[in-house]
Each structure stands twice: as structure tokens, then as C-alpha cells.
Assembly symmetry: C2
DNA sequence: CGGTCTCTTTGCTGCCTAGCAACTTGCACG
DNA sequence: CGTGCAAGTTGCTAGGCAGCAAAGAGACCG
């Protein structure tokens, strides 16, 4: 394991207002892990032994249903906490986390969470803001699933991903990690076939460009109108 | 306003381990409100001035979509906290809360939340357990919406409500507050017509009994099988 | 550079369930 | 005790989208 320097985390909002000496203390107790693309960071039902900070890469949070289907709950970007079951009094992780690309994560033993939160109030508050945002997000997506049809849901999801991770290219906003039609289907409660048809239709209208494991939003504004159901469907 | 005694809250899990004298302090800062059936306790987008404890009754948490549809996010039972936006760093309430029957709530000014959490760690931890449970619930329902068809979703929802609030009657478990077909539809992303058809079909098979604003689960076990999709549909 | 595997596209069919409309039931209120 | 309204029921139709199947397109590997 390499030496862990506080500079890895000192720029993150979560650690603002914590003294450099304290950051060193925090880092001393962290382990750094490299997770190859496709490997699990933690798994559903597993005992929550650690909590994690994603330093680099992207991770996918996935829930499995009893009958073997899977649903993508969210994507995690670099700088975000994950696996914070302890903060919510849970004994096990509620989902799987899979590295979408090669990732670097920091891991701390679970019982340290409450210690950190007590010693560094801004850390605790920051975590709970994250939790609040995720709860809000989960409910928003539940409302979407309840009230919108597939095309609007897929449009909303693509827009969210582009906003969360989009990299500017000459064509538009490119989603920054490999994402298949199947992945988008698992986020929106549809099938890869339907997603494929939609992306093709959108591409013909100039809204997006897409290819193998790749989606670029060309015209966010028009796609947003479509997501809101205020224009003709494909 | 009537005198507020600590006995109103001393039995709740949330306040276990807090000294009677401290409970008195907590109660001194509370206002007690009676909310008639149908009135709002707080509203979506409104500034989060208070947080609440439902002392008696049931409340419905509802989100409105921009185009005027509404979705029922959850029901709150007596003894639960609600409107704890402050705990998650939110400035406004994320949804409406409506009294489903005449309710009694305690309200505290929002800024007291962090004070309580700091002085009474078990209170803070209890809140976050609640938040964790709600996040988990929201994600579970999202997965259901993604992977199950209407009949299974309605079955799951009716079972959850019966478990959460069910009163034993000679027929079975009766959901303890008035709930219409439309309400169930708004929890499951379907229409009142479909809910009506399902309840009728279930009643013919002896799984439930239902009437105007009333649902009784007669055979939870068989309904559960149906919810899991392991038996023939109606 | 060819073979293979995964991802993607696309046509066709069928079913679930939304949407509409008309009718019935039951509760509340004067 | 009748009247009115909200809640519930039910038949019919249509459409959105899943499911299946087969072919096409990249990417990776030896």
C-alpha cells in the first residue's frame, strides 16, 4: 500500500473546515484500494465492515431482485462517499457497488464513522446532506416511474447522467464512462430494445449521438423539452 | 395550547435513554397542533421552519408533479418523525404532508434539531435510522416499479400498509385509515380502475375484503405469494 | 487479419393496462 | 328520509412497450 497523503482529500467539500493535522489522522486510518473494472467494491447483504470514498473512477450501485433481475440505483462519481450503512444504523449493505471503470477507493473500518462524525461535525453534516440528496433522488425517480412513460424516463435519466458526469466534446456532453443500452434500461425500468429504438430516433432528430457503450447529448435543451413531455414523441 | 407532558413521548423508541428532566426540556419547546382530516401539516417547497412528531393519527406524504399529477410517497403512523428536512441539510420540505384522519402533532422550530441531536445522541441516531429505513424503502419501491407488473405492485403495497397499520378484525388485517382505490393507485403508479378490478378479483378468491375507503387482508400468505409472482395472476 | 464475442439494431406479434364512458352504490347532509 | 355527490364497478377499445428472433457492427485476441 502506498503512503496516503491528505492532499488526496483536502480539496473535497466533505472535508472542508477540518484542520490539516486532523486530515492526516483520518488518512492514517484509511486503506487505499484499486478496484479493476467490473469488480465489486461491496456486495448486497454483506456485513457492512467499512465505508468508502471513491477517489477516482465511477461506480454503479445495483440492487438484485429475488428472481434474478437487476436494477441500477445510481452511479457514484469520484469524491462521493459510498457504503455508509453505519451512518444509517444498518448492519449490511443494501446494494452491490461495482466498478464501472478501474477505480481507486479509500476504505475505513465502519466503526470509525461515528468517531469521525463526532470529532468533525462538518463531516457528519456533509454525509447527511449526501444522504438527503440521495433520498430525494430516489423519490424523484419513483415519481418519474409512476407518472411518466418510457421515453420521458429515458430522456430524464440520460440528462441526469450527462449533467453528473458529462465531458464537453465537440459534439456535446459525453457521458464519461462506458454505458450500454442494457444499463440505461436497468435504470429506467425498460428493455434494451426500447432504449435502442429511442436513441436511434433521437439521433435521427439530432438530439444525441451514440455508439457502442457511449452516449453524447447534442441538444440538452430539446431533450429536456422531450423529458418534460411538452413535445411530440419519437 | 394544553400543557405538554413528557409522558406523551417517553414511551417512544426515539426518546429511549433520555433522562426525564431532559424530556421535560424537549417538551417545553414543543408546540402541539391538532390537524383536521384533510389539512396539510407542511407543504412542498415551503421553507422548512419546523420538524414534527406525529402523536396521533396518520399522515400521507405526497409529491406533486409539474403537470398536476400526484404520487403518494408514504404513510406516516403515530410515533414517527416527519418533516426532518433540517437533519438532511435541506432548506425546504420535499413533499406535502396531509392528515388522513384528525391528527395531533408536536412541532419544534427547525434549528432545534441539531441542538437535540448534539445533546441526545440516541435521538440523532434514531432519526438517522428512520432516514435509512425510508431511503431503503424508497429504493425498494423503485425496484418494484422497475421490475414488477401492476398486480404484484398493488399486492406488495397493500401488504405493506396492512403490516404497518393493520388492525386485527374477525375478517383479517384491516388497514387502519380510510384509503380509496385512487390512493392505492397513486402509490403504485396505476389507475383507480385497475386497482378496483384487482381488488374485486382478489375478493372473489377470498384474499381480501374491501369496501368504500376500506381494505382488509384476509389471507396475507396467499397475497404474498401473489406479490412475489409465484402464482397465477387474477 | 480472421474469428469470436458482446453490444446493438430492427421487424413482428401480442399482451397488459391506461383511458373513456356509463352505471351503481353508499355515505353525508339538510 | 330523500337528494346529491363522491367512491367504486365494469365493459370496451386502443396503444405502448415487452418479448422473441435474427441479423449487423464493433472490439478484442491470438
Amino acid at each position: 500500500m502506498s503512503r496516503l497523503d491528505r492532499s488526496l482529500i483536502s480539496g473535497l467539500p466533505l472535508f472542508q473546515g477540518i484542520a490539516p493535522a486532523d486530515l492526516d489522522v483520518i488518512m492514517q486510518q484509511a486503506r487505499s484500494l484499486r478496484i479493476p473494472k467490473g469488480d465489486a467494491i461491496f456486495e448486497q447483504e454483506e456485513e457492512a465492515h467499512s465505508f468508502f470514498l471513491l477517489l477516482d473512477g465511477y461506480a454503479r450501485v445495483v440492487k438484485h431482485t429475488p428472481d434474478g433481475q437487476q436494477v441500477i440505483v445510481r452511479y457514484i462519481s469520484a469524491g462521493e462517499l459510498m457504503g455508509i450503512a453505519q451512518a444509517l444504523g444498518r448492519k449490511t449493505y443494501p446494494a452491490n457497488a461495482i466498478a464501472v471503470v478501474d477505480c481507486v477507493v479509500l476504505a475505513w473500518p465502519g466503526q470509525l464513522w461515528s468517531e469521525f462524525a463526532a470529532r468533525f461535525p462538518s463531516f457528519g453534516a456533509g454525509t447527511y446532506n449526501t444522504v438527503g440528496a440521495r433520498l430525494n433522488d430516489a423519490q424523484t425517480r419513483f415519481v418519474e416511474m409512476s407518472t411518466e412513460q418510457v421515453e420521458q424516463r429515458v430522456a430524464n435519466t440520460v440528462l441526469r447522467l450527462a449533467n453528473q458526469t458529462g465531458k464537453k466534446t465537440e459534439d456535446g456532453l459525453l457521458i464519461d464512462f462506458p454505458i450500454s443500452r442494457q444499463d440505461i434500461a436497468e435504470m429506467t425500468g425498460t428493455t434494451l430494445h426500447t432504449v435502442s429504438r429511442l436513441l436511434t430516433a433521437w439521433e435521427e432528430r439530432g438530439l444525441v449521438k451514440s455508439g457502442r457503450q457511449r452516449v453524447t447529448v447534442v441538444e440538452p435543451h430539446r431533450l429536456m423539452l422531450l423529458a418534460e413531455g411538452r413535445v411530440e414523441k419519437s
